[in-house]
């Protein structure tokens, strides 16, 4: 059973932002509800009103162009992203990560933006979007601000979002469009478990970028390194930057170990992808 809350479905951005400004933290927005309703059911979230963003056409867009890059609106589901041809063509790392998220029917509801706002250290879109220099567009009745994803997520399930703001979209710039990429996730059961630890990696113009999830309070982005770097150098850099913990899912040592395994696997995978492409 859920506690008694009110439901509001604004039909426009203006209506939604005005409503949030008036209600403040008594209102909670949602898109897929796959995090929110689980939290309400568990008594962790107790909103007075839930605000359904799916009635706002402006938040449904998923588009790509060669100047702005990929724009993922707040109501775009993970399955919609996976079916979008430009996403798999230009940002294979995003596609690979999306496929790892939950189950088919959950992906019909779960959104990319909801995943980022939840800001779980084990969320599947955090690390791939970090490697791609993703940006978050925030809107409120008072205006718009655009912040890099790395500044948006500040801690375990913590972001800089204010109660009267919504995330309108996530933008993936063209800088890394076309970069080969891969995502490796350790989990107990496919589709029914958050990641125990995961690594996203892209390779572009002789450089690699790597980010690690579930191994620190926020996903960790390594500095760019030459693609010719020895595997050990990248592994050492990652180990220096992560701070894994022991928890119900696994031990600190196992997490650290698997980060190294995934880095090696992804570097090999991206190297052979490059050789195939140039052959």
């Amino acid at each position: 059973m859920l506690h008694e809350f009110a439901y509001h479905r604004p039909a426009s951005l203006e209506e939604a932002l005005g409503f949030l400004k008036e209600k403040g933290s008594a209102a909670t927005v949602f898109a897929g509800g796959t995090d929110l309703f689980v939290n309400i059911r568990a008594g962790v979230a107790k909103p007075g009103t839930v605000v359904d963003l799916k009635g706002i056409p402006a938040l449904r867009t998923l588009s790509w162009d060669d100047r702005e890059g990929l724009s993922i609106g707040a109501c775009v589901t993970v399955n919609e992203l996976l079916q979008h041809p430009e996403t798999s063509r230009y940002y294979p790392v995003l596609h690979a990560a999306g496929e790892e998220l939950a189950t088919y029917q959950l992906r019909n509801r779960a959104t990319v933006v909801g995943n980022i706002v939840t800001a779980s250290p084990c969320g599947d879109f955090g690390s791939p979007l970090l490697t791609l220099s993703g940006e978050v567009v925030l809107l409120s009745a008072d205006g718009e601000r655009r912040v890099p994803l790395r500044d948006f997520i500040t801690g375990v399930k913590k972001t800089i979002i204010k109660p009267e703001e919504i995330v309108a979209r996530v933008i993936v710039p063209v800088t890394w469009a076309g970069a080969a990429g891969g995502y490796e996730k350790l989990k107990r059961i496919k589709g029914h478990d958050l990641g125990v630890v995961s690594v996203a990696m892209i390779r572009h113009n002789g450089a690699i970028r790597c980010a690690v999830s579930s191994a620190a309070p926020t996903p960790v982005l390594l500095p760019d390194m030459p693609a010719s770097s020895p595997v050990k150098e990248v592994q050492d850099k990652a180990q220096e930057m992560i701070s894994p913990i022991d928890d119900v899912r696994c031990t600190r040592e196992y997490r650290a170990f698997m980060v190294n395994v995934f880095i090696e696997r992804l570097m090999k995978h991206l190297e052979s992808a490059r050789q195939e492409a140039s052959a």
Binding site: E4, T34, V38, K54, A102, Y104, Q105, N108, R109
Partner: protein, 174 residues
């Protein structure tokens, strides 16, 4: 309470629904559609799977009010006048049903899979039911049942029913 209109298995409903009630609970408790089950109530088991606007979803994580204007398909819409669908018959013949708790949701996932892919490979069947737990069968019989049903024209049966339903448009009011 909010007034909403929706369609379930070809019938139109106009109802006042509590804003905080899940679609799963509303269907089971208020409308008597108890074929859709609640296992975990948290998106994990798939027992509550139904098809909403052409997409399978976990109805334990959908509010009834969100179904305003929606077209919903549940397991109750499958057998007609006592006649099982090809998928249902195949589940029966392959012993893909033991306690039956997962079956309603499982068959809705299979229906959606066969709409997208009329002759799935074994791996595609496994992927198609990845969101549906079965605690009895060990899945083997279910996978066999789906492969066999696909070979016996299950996708074509679904397509013909969809075509008949769309030519009838509107649905009866309840």
């Amino acid at each position: 309470m909010k007034a909403i209109t929706f369609e379930i298995n070809g019938r139109r409903y106009e109802r006042e629904v509590p804003e905080y009630k899940t679609l799963l609970h509303y269907l089971r408790e208020d409308l008597g559609f108890t074929g859709t089950k609640e296992g975990c109530g948290a998106g994990e088991c798939g027992a509550c799977t139904l098809i909403m606007n052409g997409k399978p979803v976990n109805s334990c994580l959908v509010l009834a009010v969100e179904a305003d204007g929606a077209v919903i398909e549940t397991i109750e819409g499958e057998a007609r006048e006592g006649k099982l669908t090809i998928v249902q018959k195949s589940f029966d013949e392959h012993h893909a049903v033991q306690c039956g708790f997962c079956t309603g949701g499982m068959i809705m996932s299979v229906k959606d899979l066969l709409r997208r892919n009329s002759s799935p490979e074994r791996a595609e069947v496994i992927e198609g039911i990845e969101g549906n737990f079965c605690r009895c069968t060990g899945y083997e019989q279910i996978i066999e049942a789906v492969l066999d049903a696909a070979g016996r024209g299950a996708a074509e049966e679904i397509r013909q029913r969809d075509a008949a339903a769309s030519s009838k448009k509107g649905g009866r009011d309840v």
